[in-house]
Subunit: 148 residues, 2 copies
């Protein structure tokens, strides 16, 4: 089992503000993909779509206000099914810190390399959203390679 790990700090923000963007359809659509629909409550399934590239369905496993958000991938690329996404939130030095992990990959395939870099870019979009009011969600996300 191998994991993707990231850490960002949102300047002048709070865990509460980050939590809002991670647990509402409207918030998620502003930094990950504009095509986000579904049920954002615990036990619900959120559907993230990226045009022709397809997308992911995430079941909301746990929401602890201002502290923790956990999803399980229930539909998407084969490598993603059953993996879990976790956001841990805390305040530090005037920054809202996000500790991110995408856990439970069976093997470190090349697609995992891609997803790791792409997660970093989307987390920077989340940071930008909270710092400036505007993120870079798909389809206007920062492209990193031939795999978009």
């Amino acid at each position: 089992m191998v994991d993707i790990l990231h850490r960002i700090g949102v300047t002048g923000s709070s865990p509460s503000a980050v939590y809002e963007t991670l647990t509402t359809i409207d918030g998620l659509a502003k930094w990950w993909t504009e095509d986000t629909v579904g049920d954002d409550s615990v036990g619900g399934v959120i559907r993230f779509r990226f045009g022709e590239a397809g997308g992911f369905d995430m079941k909301v496993i746990e929401n602890q206000p201002d502290e923790l958000v956990r999803w399980e991938v229930v539909e998407g690329p084969e490598e993603w099914i059953g993996t879990q996404v976790r956001f841990e939130l805390k305040q530090e030095d005037g920054f809202a810190i996000v500790l991110f992990s995408h856990e439970g990959w069976k093997e470190p395939v090349e697609f995992m390399n891609h997803c790791s870099t792409k997660w970093a870019v989307f987390l920077m979009s989340l940071k930008k959203l909270l710092e400036t009011g505007e993120g870079d969600p798909a389809p206007n996300d920062v492209k990193i390679s031939n795999w978009h």
Copy 2:
């Protein structure tokens, strides 16, 4: 043992051009840190510094032209000592693809989360350098958190 993995594709570039930026002091100084000095030949040690934050000394373990670059960390933060950095290069769909790994971390500490995101940002700097002629090396690198 846990690894940091990334993948970027440089538009309209070649493995040869990427290899040049990874194996010369001048190339490295244009995307990672301006304060890069040392011996860039195999067996040599390259010293990367980031002002007050310190830096890393990398021993060049292997250089296979246009294909592979491998370093071992011989000085730096305790968690980095003995870890290895690897860049695999290939051409795909008109992109120069860089498969990156920073291997051999003993434990997935919070600092590893930080380094993973920061590596992504620096690889995007490498991509930008080759696509536009200008990267974002330290001290003008993209800041991601209170840990810079």
